[in-house]
């Protein structure tokens, strides 16, 4: 199956074509929001980094997002005195062949003048979007990530195994599939490492789960929310077993960290747990942080499974929401792209829902809006983290 995508200068292909208005510190947030709000029915999205202190991870992720295949142009909004390296970010975006402009509020002369300058630039950038060359895309061009949020005990019985099937299909057709959350593979490190493409990667996979277990123990709180317990999940091991089946049955080709971009087809695990001693608190303070990390590693779209009923979408890459719990689906149908709940009643099989999910990946890639897109969801969050570079055994390809 083929569809039209957007061809970028580096040869990567996008399934969406957005202008991002990017605040580089919280102080620039209001101006950025006011600019973006002038373009309600246009492909203009608001993202940003709130912190004034520098952070290598945030810098790397933001550079990756601003040059993502779904990104068509970028307005950077700086207050003027923050530490984000806006010059280097602008250079990288320009080199990537995208229209870019840096608006410095202090230089522009304050709120009103900055908004005015920003709106004028976005207006012109929107016409540039129309000149982006189109190109044919196939499944082999796709990177798809998966996360779960608002999980309950049905997640591991319906939506997650169905995503696993869809992932198997994606990988079999030379696409790239990425799963994450080593904090929810507690107890599974042996099982998972047996799927590694070689023994060195097996060691790295195990180490990444051990790191997560140590980190969360230090935090004093595992990756577990009250809603998980309401929905029948009792322990992190139980949640982990359920979450893990999103990965399907493919061999694991590599371990990456946020911002690393796999280029060879296959299934990859993303390690989102910071390295070293905890410096900035919890690894991911909400589901949106890991969605952003997946997008930074190139994901065109995200498969998001939920039991309790998450409503989030995302800026930059669309979110396909797969509902695991039949009661939740009945109550929140408008927010759910796929109903996996009928697997519980035996009226649908895991394979059938897996097929539905795979077909939905294709239609969303070709331009069909997901429920969260149609409802205007454009969540984004970028926090402080610290990572050491990947070890040699992590990306065998």
């Amino acid at each position: 199956m083929q569809w039209q995508g957007y061809l970028r200068k580096d040869g990567r292909k996008g399934i969406r074509n957005y202008i991002a208005v990017v605040y580089l510190v919280e102080c620039a947030h209001h101006v950025s929001r006011e600019i973006t709000s002038q373009f309600k029915d246009n492909p203009v999205q608001l993202i940003g980094f709130a912190g004034c202190y520098p952070n290598a991870y945030a810098d790397r992720v933001m550079n990756a997002l601003c040059t993502h295949p779904n990104m068509g142009g970028v307005l950077l909004v700086s207050l003027g005195c923050e530490s984000f390296n806006r010059k280097r970010l602008e250079e990288n975006i320009r080199e990537s062949g995208r229209p870019v402009h840096t608006l410095v509020i202090q230089q522009a002369g304050g709120t009103k003048k900055a908004i005015s300058e920003g709106v004028a630039w976005v207006q012109s950038a929107l016409t540039d979007l129309l000149t982006v060359p189109l190109t044919l895309m196939t499944v082999a061009d796709l990177l798809v990530g998966t996360v779960c949020g608002g999980s309950d005990a049905t997640s591991g019985m319906t939506a997650n195994p169905a995503v696993g099937r869809a992932f198997d299909q994606l990988v079999a057709r030379d696409g790239i599939a990425i799963f994450e959350e080593t904090g929810e593979m507690i107890g599974l490190e042996d099982m998972m490492s047996k799927r590694a493409i070689n023994p060195q990667l097996a060691v790295e996979l195990k180490k990444s789960v051990e790191k997560a277990a140590r980190y969360y123990t230090l935090m004093g709180h595992g990756s577990f929310a009250p809603g998980n317990a309401d929905g029948g999940l009792t322990t992190i091991e139980e949640k982990s077993m359920g979450a893990y089946c999103k990965s399907g049955d493919s061999i694991i080709s590599g371990l990456i960290k946020p911002g690393d971009r796999p280029t060879q087809s296959g299934l990859y695990l993303m390690d989102v747990v910071p390295d070293g001693d905890p410096q900035f608190g919890f690894p991911n303070i909400n589901d949106t942080v890991e969605i952003v990390e997946m997008i930074a590693s190139g994901c065109h779209m995200i498969l998001f499974t939920t039991g309790r009923g998450s409503v989030v979408g995302s800026a930059i890459s669309p979110v396909i929401k797969i509902c695991a719990n039949p009661q939740t689906y009945r109550r929140m149908e408008e927010d759910m792209d796929i109903n996996a709940g009928d697997i519980l009643y035996g009226t649908n099989t895991i394979d059938e829902v897996g097929e539905d999910i795979f077909n939905r990946i294709l239609s969303v890639a070709a331009g069909t809006a997901t429920c969260s897109e149609a409802l205007g969801h454009q969540e984004f969050m970028l926090t402080y983290k610290t990572f050491t570079p990947l070890g040699p055994g992590c990306l065998p390809g």
Binding site: T217, P226, M241, G242, Q327
Partner: protein
């Protein structure tokens, strides 16, 4: 409609797939069980008696340990089992799973 399913042959728990209402009766292996409290979709009940300290098996693997003796048909959750890795913290103590939005 089936009320319960067992995910793996080795499991000592069955999973509720159709909500068990307060006052309901279920037959489990020839024994009749009366449920005074409702039990929500996804929750676990014991397939047979489980001793304190014994592993709770779901998906064919251990998902934690019993913290008290558990009777056949009894609801298994935070009140009678715990993680062998990282403790679970939640907001309150009632976990029947049936306090969804009305």
């Amino acid at each position: 409609m089936h009320k319960l399913i067992q995910l793996h042959a080795l499991d000592n728990v069955k999973i509720v797939v159709d909500e068990i209402k307060s006052g309901a009766y279920l037959i489990l292996d020839g024994f009749t069980f009366h449920f005074a409290q409702p039990i929500g979709i996804g929750h676990k009940i014991a397939s047979y008696p489980i001793a304190k300290g014994e592993k709770i098996i779901k998906y064919g693997v251990s998902i934690g340990s019993a913290t008290e003796n558990i009777e056949m048909g009894q609801h298994i959750h935070l009140h009678n089992m715990k993680s062998d890795y990282i403790p679970t913290y939640t907001l309150d103590k009632e976990f029947t799973g049936s306090k969804d939005v009305k």
